[in-house]
């Protein structure tokens, strides 16, 4: 069975601290992979490593994407090739119009794929449709990127970007943290809409609630910089009951 992304023996540092210590993980096409694990285990570090964040220094191992090693690939290149990260803490960029930013991103991608760019009117139509679906206010079009957004609005805005950019590997770092019940439902619907049998999802979470909505195929436990267990969705209940300490490394 071929994988979309294969992470082999990945080791990574942030500053002087070794965070990832030989991590192995394979993302299968069309599957939803959930990652759970204690605070500080290295979940966000893994997600940053996959998208080439400056903070993370790879010290060993390989990230293979579509059969190619991408350890050295520039972040924008990875994005254009279809890797998307919804950030745990999306940053605010004052004065940058949300719609303008997103259209620039989409058109960069379309250009990369040899498709025609969308003009402002076409793009707005697309954006409005998605806004409605996500239950977002239409002033999200003209506001500055994430500036003054509430926690939930930031997360919805990440999902909006995912829907518009239509990536192939979707990494969601705690997309469900801080969401109210309606937002959680809207965000989950957005994610489910993206399931097409080919796209892979890597969903980092601390809660079972979102997993009830998006129905993961695999649960991976990340502890101390490594994946120590992989199982089916039934593992969630066990984790909720006994915690991470009860997990035996496989």
């Amino acid at each position: 069975m071929s994988s979309v992304m294969k992470i082999e023996n990945l080791q990574a540092k942030i500053g002087d601290k070794q965070i990832l210590k030989g991590l192995n993980l394979e993302l299968e096409p069309g599957k939803v992979h959930a990652i759970m694990g204690p605070n500080g285990a290295g979940k966000s570090t893994l997600s940053k490593a996959l998208v080439g964040h400056y903070d993370v220094e790879l010290t060993g191992g390989d990230i293979i994407y579509k059969g190619k090693n991408i350890n050295e690939m520039e972040p924008e290149e990875r994005a254009l090739e279809g890797i998307f990260l919804s950030f745990q803490h999306p940053v605010e960029i004052p004065g940058v119009n949300n719609a303008y930013f997103l259209r620039t991103a989409l058109n960069a991608k379309r250009k990369h794929e040899g498709k025609e760019e969308l003009n402002a009117a076409e793009f707005l139509r697309l954006m409005r449709d998605h806004l409605e679906m996500l239950g977002m206010k239409s002033d999200m079009i003209s506001r500055s990127l994430n500036e003054g957004f509430s926690g939930g609005e930031k997360k919805r805005n990440e999902i909006l970007q995912m829907l518009i950019l239509e990536p192939e590997v979707i990494i969601l770092d705690e997309i469900d943290s801080g969401l109210d019940i309606d937002a959680l439902r809207a965000v989950s619907e957005g994610i489910n809409k993206m399931k097409d049998g080919k796209r892979s999802f890597l969903v980092i979470t601390h809660y079972s609630r979102i997993l009830d909505y998006i129905e993961p195929d695999y649960i991976h436990v990340l502890k101390d910089g490594r994946i120590i267990k992989t199982a089916g969705p039934e593992l969630v209940a066990q984790l909720e009951e006994h915690g991470y300490d009860a997990i035996e490394e496989e």
Binding site: V51, D55, P75, A79, V91, G95, V96, A105, A108, H112
Partner: protein
């Protein structure tokens, strides 16, 4: 690593560094009564103007160059500068303009030919190359509305009453060292008069270009908005790439009468010199507006991307009750540029209000200083000021400095000041790159966002120009 990426995107080549290949009439370097007499004669000026010039020269000779700015530059040898250069052939109408000059303006993105024909948005243009006003478009049409838009040399001859009344009324002859120098040697510039109750039917523009070698440019602009009138005026500047420093010392005076309004926008792109500080324009400019009448309003918007040295503080004297002064500024210093710029808001009338929005961007070895004064006189009951000074640093070899001064004699005045200094953060840059936007585009997006409050004050076409210019200036200095 992010820093590496940053430095690459901020050292754009100066795109306007071409030289116009035209024959110029230029006088020997040096400054004396003889020089002044020569300039005045060349311009066929009336006697009274010559006398004023000579008076200014006398005063200048007793003054010393100010050095309180946070600027570091080689001493200027005022005797080695040529104070007058003019394209050789005299010019009366656009049709007589040397095609090479027109071509040059095309390169600058200002087609005078097009301006002549454009029917939609009309922009009247006055173009000043070296010391002489080359062409003024649309004057005829403007005349129908009673608007006077001509070179200052023409105004001295044709409208002496207005000139005598208002020239030196806002910036006195000996206001400061550079203003005094300008008063003595000013060679050309623009004159605008908007009569009572007239809304100027089009944007007015002046393009200044220093072309000849070894010359200084000393233009003088005077704009009078009579009661209840309104005008939007724009100026743009550029110069060819030269190894030597060139001096630019301009004076701008704005007079705003009761219920009138002037919007004054500048896009300054004089040659900045290279990354080692070689070449580039020394830009020492005095700009001041007086809101003479009640309910008058003035708004300065400036986008400063060029010059090796910038020393410039467009100011507002808010004399009329309820008058309003605004200052919106983007100043970019990259390469080895230094800018010491800001504004002065002098509140005299009751319920006067002022707004200062200053955005400084520093990259590479650029040094950017904001220096501003808000002065509230005893008479200025109910005065209000809001100031916001933000600095953005790109890379770690540049600097930003903020010197806000407040003098308030009215204890009830409301003064609010906010200042921030930020770096283009790696997190912001990374966020955009993660969405597939390349590093250079990401930087310019963040920078534009930072400047948004100022750009939104510019007329549409100029906002587009300013954006493009900013991109060009910062190109390659991120890294």
């Amino acid at each position: 690593m992010a820093n590496e990426g940053l430095d690459k995107a901020v050292s754009g080549e100066y795109a306007l560094g071409f030289e116009i290949d035209i024959e110029t009439d230029i006088i020997e370097p040096g400054l004396s009564e003889k020089t002044i007499a020569f300039i005045s004669k060349k311009k066929d000026e009336p006697e009274w103007m010559l006398e004023l010039r000579l008076k200014a020269l006398k005063k200048w000779e007793t003054m010393t160059e100010p050095h309180w700015g946070k600027l570091d530059y080689e001493p200027i040898d005022y005797q080695s500068i040529s104070y007058f250069a003019a394209p050789k052939e005299g010019i009366d109408s656009l049709d007589e303009v040397d095609p090479k000059i027109l071509e040059a303006y095309d390169k600058l993105g200002i087609s005078l030919e097009e301006q002549k024909q454009l029917s939609g948005v009309k922009v009247a243009v006055d173009a000043v190359v070296d010391s002489v006003s080359v062409t003024t478009t649309y004057s005829e049409e403007l005349k129908k509305h009673g608007v006077i838009f001509c070179s200052i040399s023409e105004a001295i001859k044709d409208y002496p009453e207005l000139v005598k009344k208002y020239m030196f009324s806002v910036v006195p002859m000996a206001d400061n060292y550079f203003a005094a120098l300008n008063s003595a040697v000013f060679t050309d510039g623009t004159f605008v008069y908007i009569p009572k109750g007239v809304r100027c039917p089009m944007e007015l523009s002046t393009y200044f270009r220093i072309n000849a070698l070894n010359t200084g440019q000393f233009e003088r602009t005077l704009i009078i908005a009579d009661e209840g009138s309104h005008v939007s005026y724009n100026e743009g500047c550029s110069a060819p790439t030269r190894d030597e420093h060139q001096l630019h010392a301009a004076v701008v005076e704005l007079v705003i009468l009761k219920d009138a309004e002037i919007k004054y926008s500048t896009i300054q792109n004089w040659f900045p010199g290279d990354e080692n500080g070689k070449g580039g324009i020394y830009n020492f400019v005095t700009k001041r507006a007086i809101c003479q009448g009640d309910n008058s309003k003035v708004s300065w918007t400036q986008v400063e991307t060029g010059s090796a040295i910038t020393w410039k503080y467009p100011s507002c004297i808010l004399k009329g009750d309820n008058s309003v002064g605004e200052f919106y500024s983007v100043a970019v210093t990259t390469l080895a540029q230094q800018a010491d710029t800001g504004t002065k808001m002098i509140h005299i009338g009751k319920n006067t209000s002022s707004t200062i929005i200053s955005k400084g961007i520093s990259a590479m070895k650029g040094q950017n200083t904001y220096r501003g004064l808000v002065k509230i006189n005893k008479s200025a009951e109910g005065a209000r000021n809001y100031s916001e000074c933000d600095s953005l640093l790109i890379g770690s070899n540049c600097g930003a400095h903020t010197f806000p001064y407040l003098e308030s004699k009215d204890t009830k005045g409301q003064v609010e000041h906010e200042a921030t200094t930020s770096k283009i953060s790696d997190e912001q840059l990374f966020y955009l790159r993660q969405r597939g936007i390349n590093e250079e585009d990401a930087v310019s997006m963040i920078v534009h966002g930072f400047c948004k409050q100022v750009f939104s004050q510019l007329p549409m076409e100029y906002a587009v120009e300013a954006k493009a210019l900013l991109e060009l200036t910062l190109e390659g200095s991120v890294g």
